[in-house]
């Protein structure tokens, strides 16, 4: 049989005809498997959702309790049968609750890994390579220029800046699910015990992480603090807020951004970042190529990112490889939407 019969790209996402389900569909479908809680993968409105307990809880936090008609939790290592297809969840190491789905049917195994990273992360379960015939990989950082340094050395940069500029607030832009909590954990591991202030958008998700037994230390809402509290303090906020009006409450802020994109200087400059921190929840080039090799797969399908380079690399290793040209992924991670819409008509107000 051809692997395509088990799983293939369709409008709306990867589709399994035997089990009649989609993986991370970009539009509402009757039955969905969701790899993790980021908004470009986890959307509201599906009839039935299968995901890890954590992903289901995070979706409920973001979209409300009725985000799907019905839900079913699956644990790492657990298998369920859907229309004769055996589905097993494995840790993806991307964010809390993130899973790879292993699909087996008539001796063919396909692993859809969603987003993943092989780097150590104290806030989620570690990525496990799963033997398969076809490995479906993202390629967000699929160029050899993306080799993420150790997150601890990047955290040390932030610690050093706090030491050199003890009167300035250090505003760190970080995606509200996963990255923000990882930065908190990294700071704690580096010995930073002072309160960390957060933007309101991070409150519920951070509380959920702590409820899951991931210690983040003393986390406080920035809006409840006084300006003087921010001197030499770390403030974590969604990327859209760090250079906008929200940041005015802070004394002479140092603008930092924790993202794999910060590896490229022009990217950091375009955003007006003063302290780029290369901390990523995606596998870097070495991680992608190591993960693909570790699965022992014969074929690689590349979903989103820099597909061409990874496909080229796979072919030089005698692997069959093809880009899936999937659209609609990578948006939460890449660019945030503009802060406010532009006015349609000229403003009349002149003070």
């Amino acid at each position: 049989m051809r692997p395509d019969e088990l799983l293939h790209p369709a409008p709306g996402g990867l589709y399994c005809p035997k089990g009649d389900f989609f993986i991370d569909p970009t539009r509402a479908v009757p039955r969905a498997l969701i790899t993790h809680g980021h908004s470009d993968h986890a959307r509201a409105g599906h009839g039935h959702v299968l995901a890890t307990r954590e992903t289901l809880d995070l979706m409920a936090i973001r979209y409300g309790a009725n985000f799907a008609g019905a839900t079913q939790a699956i644990a790492y290592g657990e298998s369920v049968e859907i229309g004769g297809v055996t589905v097993t969840a494995h840790p993806a190491g991307h964010v809390l609750g993130s899973a790879q789905f292993e699909l087996s049917w008539r001796g063919c195994t396909i692993v859809a890994s969603g987003d993943y990273k092989d780097a150590r992360d104290p806030t989620c379960a570690t990525f496990v390579p799963v033997r398969c015939h076809v490995f479906i990989s993202e390629a967000t950082f699929g160029l050899p220029v993306f080799r993420h340094p150790d997150a601890a050395t990047e955290t040390a940069k932030l610690m050093n800046s706090l030491h050199v500029f003890p009167e300035r607030a250090h505003i760190v832009g970080a995606y509200s699910l996963g990255k923000a909590q990882r930065v908190m954990a990294l700071l704690r591991a580096a010995g930073h015990s002072a309160p960390i202030y957060i933007h309101g958008a991070l409150e519920k998700i951070s509380a959920y992480y702590q409820a899951c037994g991931i210690p983040l230390g003393d986390i406080r809402l920035a809006k409840e603090a006084k300006k003087a509290d921010f001197a030499g303090a770390v403030v974590i906020a969604p990327p859209t807020s760090i250079t906008d009006i929200w940041s005015r409450n802070f004394p002479e802020p140092v603008t930092a951004f924790a993202s794999g994109w910060m590896r490229v200087r022009a990217r950091a400059r375009q955003r007006g970042i003063e302290l780029p921190l290369v901390i990523s929840d995606h596998a870097d080039w070495d991680g992608l190529t190591a993960a693909i090799s570790a699965t022992g797969c014969e074929e690689v399908w590349v979903t989103h990112g820099a597909e061409d380079a990874l496909v080229h690399w796979a072919m030089t290793r005698q692997l069959r490889a093809r880009p899936l040209h999937m659209v609609g992924y990578g948006e939460e991670e890449n660019e945030a939407p503009p802060a406010a819409p532009a006015p349609a008509s000229p403003p009349e107000a002149t003070p």
């Binding site: 220029v145 080799r147 340094p149 002479e252 380079a309 532009a342 403003p347």
Partner: protein, 547 residues
Amino acid sequence: MNRFAALLDRLAYESGRNAKIRLMADYFATTPDPERGIALAALTGALSFTNAKPGLVRALIQERADPVLFAMSYDYVGDLSETVALMWPLPEGAAPPDHAPLLSEIVHGLETLPKRALPGQLADWLDGLDDTGRWALLKLITGALRVGASARLAKTAVATLGGLAPDEVELVWPGMAPPYLELFAWVEGRAPRPENLDPAPFRPVMLSHAIEDSDFTALDPSAFAAEWKWDGIRIQAVAGVSPEGERIVRLYSRTGEDISPAFPDLVEALDFEGAMDGELLVVREGRVQSFNVLQQRLNRKTVTAKMLRDYPAHMRAYDLLVEAGEDLREQPFAARRARLAALIARTASPRLDLSPLVPFASWEALAAARADPASAGAGVDAEAVEGVMLKRADSLYLPGRPKGPWWKWKRDPHTVDAVLMYAQRGHGKRSSYYSDYTFGVWTQAEGVDTLVPVGKAYFGFTDEELLAIDKFVREATVNRFGPVREVLHEPDAGLVLEIAFEGLARSTRHRSGIAMRFPRIARLRWDKPPREADRLETLEKLLGAEG
């Protein structure tokens, strides 16, 4: 090297002057000798790294990496050195070297290595460095490092280690050489102040305050002398004899940078011994040229014969600090001036002359002279006059900017009404504010009136005005490009800014063909519709008048 690279990396992202000083000071305080001294030499431009061409770097990466992956990466990153630094792979199966090369080892290697050994050595260094280290090394050796930290800033950072004023470091600097062990020992209080044995050292300069209308009432005109304020470059010419009997002549900028190599014509023409304060000008056919002409000679490390011929450098002196070993700085201005006049009278050099005094009996008379320098004694040089200087006849030569003895009274700036076109977010205190403004004036293009950008301004406004402009930018945004916003700029909708500036120069880098000197925002003209803003022709007329 990795630590120094991390500093360079951080400096490149930091825009605040004080923040840069603190980053450098922190590095100097926590890095051992002689590494920090070599770093200081690199920051102050005392080392020349240029050794490798981009072709060499390209060849190295082609040997190491898959050419298709390199091409895709280069296409994405857009900068050769950065691409190579980021993707540089170790040879397949090789373990990373256990020793990262030190900056001092690299500098020593570059100085002593034969040229053919460079590619192999460079590859070894790249293997041993982290990605930031590789980036800095490649930028240094291809001569493309830009981190926005001047020599003065680096010396200021050294001074802060010992709580010293920057000028104190400047004073001993000319006698120092990398790795500056005695300098660090002194600022850290571990050794006495190094003796400056340089026969032609820089002396920190005395600066003036801008005078306000309200200042005049408290000042007695008879206590002051006035001179023209020349629109050139303030320099200090110093000449002395080394212990070996060699005559040393140097020209320093007002911050103490040695700019002699760019002005061999003037260095050669100076025939006095001592330290003299004056203005660097270009004089052609007996006439001082405008700043735009002088600019042809500025910011160059070397100079061509054609430039020496077309733009002859000249010094117009106005103070004498030292004469033949005698320090005059403790004497009053009137006495120093008399010594200077006598010295200039003896000089045989046609490239050195005395800046004349402007006689006046009252502030009103001086105001009239300032308004019309041509008929008040400046004659054909009047166009190079940018105001007058007031100096108390009894003023000692005090380094820094003491308030009271010296005043500058600049000519009123030019102004133009321009339309705000783009705004960019600032940094630090202004990081959430749109505080950098690109403005334009009207011109005809294919029969239609359109705005063409003529400059950029990021100061001159009050905090309240900044808030008002920021609000306007957010409400009138029509386009976004990263941190830049295009704002509404139509004949009947938009914001008119009154821009003050010091002069204009032709420029091939700007679409309008014009570059402004020192533009700043004088006023916000909420009352004025953009259609009534100025036209490019107005600026071109002014440019014609300035030559």
